[in-house]
Symmetry: C3
């Protein structure tokens, strides 16, 4: 059987948590209510009224009530999916029972919230048998409330070594007759508690990067037809760091990330979409520097790479601490290795259309060309890259487009912003291609 995704959304860019009850406010549900009003790029693909860590333990019963109140009132209009997080702990039966009770309460159809609730998020899961305990509670909740078995999705937070190991069992366990694990939806990493569970530490107290955890989560999602989401990025002022983390995640197939603020939601909703305009990168001293575009030329503003034309088609390049004399061909070769092009949405759609036409005409591979005038310490050089596109390139390039299409189909509240960003014509073509 193919590892098919079984739920409405094939991609989830954003997982936004809100406290369910805040003490000392006139309306303890204020944060929930505010989040429920978010629209457009500020509104997440998955909104998580968080009755666990974001809410004080003493406020969680009130939090469950708040979820019911706010979701029953605002849920119909909310553009994303709604997945409350309940309490759970692999090592504590009373916490598990409390989570069960909150689910029972929130899912009661008479209270009017459950029709807008897509599923629940279960934190602190342990090994696969612990996941099954949670799944069993979902099944009982569904049966008690006359909901279809499996209709509530289950998303889990991976925040222990044993849960990471369970990621390898999902594909095999999901088909078994005595569970409803097909309800699984998101696999979300929770690096703060994971770090604690692994007893890891860093000199400055910042979180370790955990590349293997993220790989294994993404692989687990791939093998079981689920969606991988990275954990919270605490330093909410560090937009650049958040972007770097998302780029790193995307190279692992983890296209979604937790968001703690509407600002982070905007960044995370936008990050996996192709950029509006293409750009050129130049590798300098092991780093990729984005070149500044001016009048159609791409300019390197730094001083770590120096280029001088010493004669007719003769050049001197100073880089990485050495000076080399190069002729025009050698220089072009060198710049080919150092430059890279980041295609825009329009570029990707163009290339896909071109390849589709070529395939129609019976050709299996075509060369796509990209040129630019690059300027290094005042010296201009023409760089031309070409890349062979075959069926495999085409299919790999499709991921951002399929994501875009999934977003466009499910998030009509973002149409205006997307059309503003890309232009209507590009959006239309992007919806047709593939």
């Amino acid at each position: 059987m193919c590892a098919q995704r079984k739920h409405d959304r094939e991609f989830v860019r954003t997982f936004f948590t809100s406290p369910t009850a805040v003490e000392g406010e006139d309306d303890s549900a204020k944060m929930l209510r505010r989040a429920s009003q978010l629209r457009g790029m500020e509104s997440p693909d998955v909104w998580v009224p968080d009755n666990e860590d974001a809410t004080a333990p003493s406020m969680r019963d009130e939090g469950a009530e708040n979820i019911v109140d706010v979701v029953s009132e605002e849920g119909a209009e909310f553009p994303g999916e709604i997945h409350p997080r309940i309490v759970w702990h692999r090592d504590d039966p009373s916490t598990r029972y409390q989570g069960f009770q909150h689910m029972l309460q929130i899912a009661d159809p008479e209270k009017g919230a459950v029709e807008h609730v897509d599923g629940f998020v279960v934190p602190e899961v342990g090994d696969i048998d612990d996941w099954k305990k949670a799944d069993e509670f979902f099944t009982i909740v569904e049966t008690e409330h006359g909901l279809e078995e499996g209709s509530l999705t289950m998303s889990v937070i991976i925040e222990s070594g044993q849960a990471e190991l369970a990621l390898g069992d999902l594909r095999e366990e999901m088909g078994k007759p005595t569970n409803n694990l097909e309800r699984l939806f998101l696999l979300v990493d929770g690096e703060v508690d994971y770090t604690k569970d692994m007893r890891a530490m860093t000199p400055t107290g910042e979180l370790p990067p955990w590349p293997e955890l993220r790989h294994n989560t993404s692989r687990g999602a791939s093998a079981a037809g689920l969606i991988a989401v990275d954990g919270p990025y605490d330093d909410i002022r560090d937009i650049e760091g958040y972007h770097e983390r998302m780029t790193d995640n995307q190279a692992k197939g983890m296209l979604g990330i937790w968001a703690l603020t509407p600002n982070q939601v905007v960044e995370a909703n936008t990050s996996p979409l192709p950029p509006k305009t293409g750009s050129w990168l130049l590798e300098v001293d092991g780093r990729d520097v984005e070149l500044r575009e001016a009048d159609g030329r791409y300019i390197y503003d730094g001083d770590e790479l120096e280029l001088e034309e010493t004669g007719d088609e003769e050049y001197r390049l100073h880089a990485d601490g050495t000076e080399r004399e190069l002729d025009a061909d050698e220089l072009h070769e060198e710049l080919l290795e150092r430059t890279a092009y980041v295609p825009s949405m329009n570029d990707i759609v163009d290339s896909m259309e071109e390849f589709e036409a070529a395939k129609e005409a019976g050709r299996g591979a075509i060369a796509m060309e990209q040129s630019a005038t690059v300027v290094i310490s005042g010296t201009e050089v023409e760089v031309t890259r070409d890349r062979m596109w075959d069926e495999a390139t085409y299919q790999a390039a499709q991921t951002p487009i399929t994501l875009f299409q999934d977003v466009y189909e499910n998030r009509s509240d973002q149409h205006e912003e997307l059309e503003e960003m890309y232009g209507e014509e590009v959006v239309e073509r992007a919806m047709q291609v593939g």
Copy 2:
């Protein structure tokens, strides 16, 4: 069931091996005897009389006798745990039988050593069924000698791909009725033989870094309630490299490491403990440089970052090959991203106490502030960082403190050195917090 640690020590910083019998010496047990005298920071958490690789094959029968002699005489006074390494090989039954015989001999209560022996170390294990063969020999040794079943711990050296895979089976296998795998204690990587088993090679012959192996070992330890220990660091003169390796390990949750010399023991016993004094780091060209403290200011002595005050609250910063004009706010933002603070033991205890008091007072999160005057090319700038502490931050910060407490409780021979290092008052507060 919780993955609880079942043994006396919750943390092991140091795994120190000694040859059991050296040819050509008056007393072939000389090295053993000398190691058994080590006290304080020079003495390891786990001492391993090594009757495998450190001892010539022809000397191993004598080595087993030496273990009995030295441990029965010196074991009562030895401050750490004692875990002799016996011979074993997944591919060789006669080696396995030899290891069994040596265990039988060493564990004979009439010889007076076993009361000081905490367990045995089994090298070159294979898949999980091979681990079970070793476990069965432990059980037989215990039964034959009237020891309690499971009283001898078993530690293994992970030095093959199949043993790495077995790390994923431990949690499930340890509960089964036909084995006593609950005796497992340390999971120790052995990168030299692992490299050979994986048929890996590097141009210079140095060992590959094997980050995935170390992750998987640490994760296996987390999932099964065991302790992860890294393998030997051969270049015993390269203290800096040893430290970098330990820092890298700690970020993976692997807090212990092999030590080949008493000097390495000192380094490895100290490394996972918080430093006596805090320090500031500055990121320069992708590297973290520790700033030099002088009169309460923190000075960058290099020339790769240049800062100049060009006017009232106006600055010019040269970094990463580009020059930028920044106002005071932009500069502070830039330095916030580039600096990091490494807290001292005292800082950590302070923060934990402060958070505990806040929690008592009903607050779930508080901001901790850290300020410094940073000096770059003569220009002084004030940097203030604050960090939100919530329950999760608190618990993650606890790892080094829990480790410290485990050390202090189990290693009274190190009290004096620890008190000298941190001061009595800090030690006392560190023992109370958490």
Copy 3:
């Protein structure tokens, strides 16, 4: 049971694919025929007539016929092994059935090709049960054609998350009575389709590095006695990048790689073999720079490291943005850390012979010394490194030699080139050692 390799070759450096049928040529088998003529370093260890991605879907029936034609004519003379790739897909039964039919056809003994065919390559496999479906077709093909059961090897392309997970099951599954998975030979990564399956993306469209996949493939090979091979390196003009990838793979125990052109075959056949001459590396700014040899001295030509003799045995070193005053000992220490020696084939054989002699004489460990005059900004310094060799070092150093021996034994067509490269005497000693 030991994870023993069960096939003729213990190492495979090169996996070279050729389209089986190209449209619009006079002879659609032209590419196949040309590849079958390759000899010496241009000829791969494993040649893969590729009836899957390299061949248009409409040409694959003709491709199967071409394989039969060319292999029956040229197979007897071909110096490497021959493993055609058939079509397969975990999600598509009709593709699987087509692959089965092509195998039946190619393996028909009356057609004269199968006696030269060593096995088949199965792409796009899924979980372990999908591997068993392919294995069952091999068994039926063998039985129908009167071939010995298990005589055709099966190699798979790992290009999905589920197949990556199956790598952890191989050791356990290969012994089971209802399959013939012992026929497994190569585990080959296919990063293009893997990237698609994992839904990963990068800004520039280049492939992610997938270090964990490559580790897991290599570990799977180690645990099950198989051979790990990396996927295609698309940028066929980028020889330096191809080399870096191979060096990275070798440190993971993945000694083989896909080759798309005879030029890549030469590079990949050569890369895992020790170099003809040794060289010295100097670490500068985090990178390893190869020093230029001139008159027995090793010269650093860059300007990022500066060294000046300021007095009698007193030096000033400028590095990493700081200047330090060092005496002769400190400088030697510093250079020891910054330099590394890449041994030649001759060096490795020398060391092994020396260690073997020492072992014979009853010594378990000896020091190997390496000296050089290093020149930095005109200042000459003598650097002497020594390294302890014990049994473990010896065995780890053996991997490239064992590989060389496997090559020399199986590839007589490369003898001349190997002898030209190393000299006859070194080749002879390399064949004796170990």
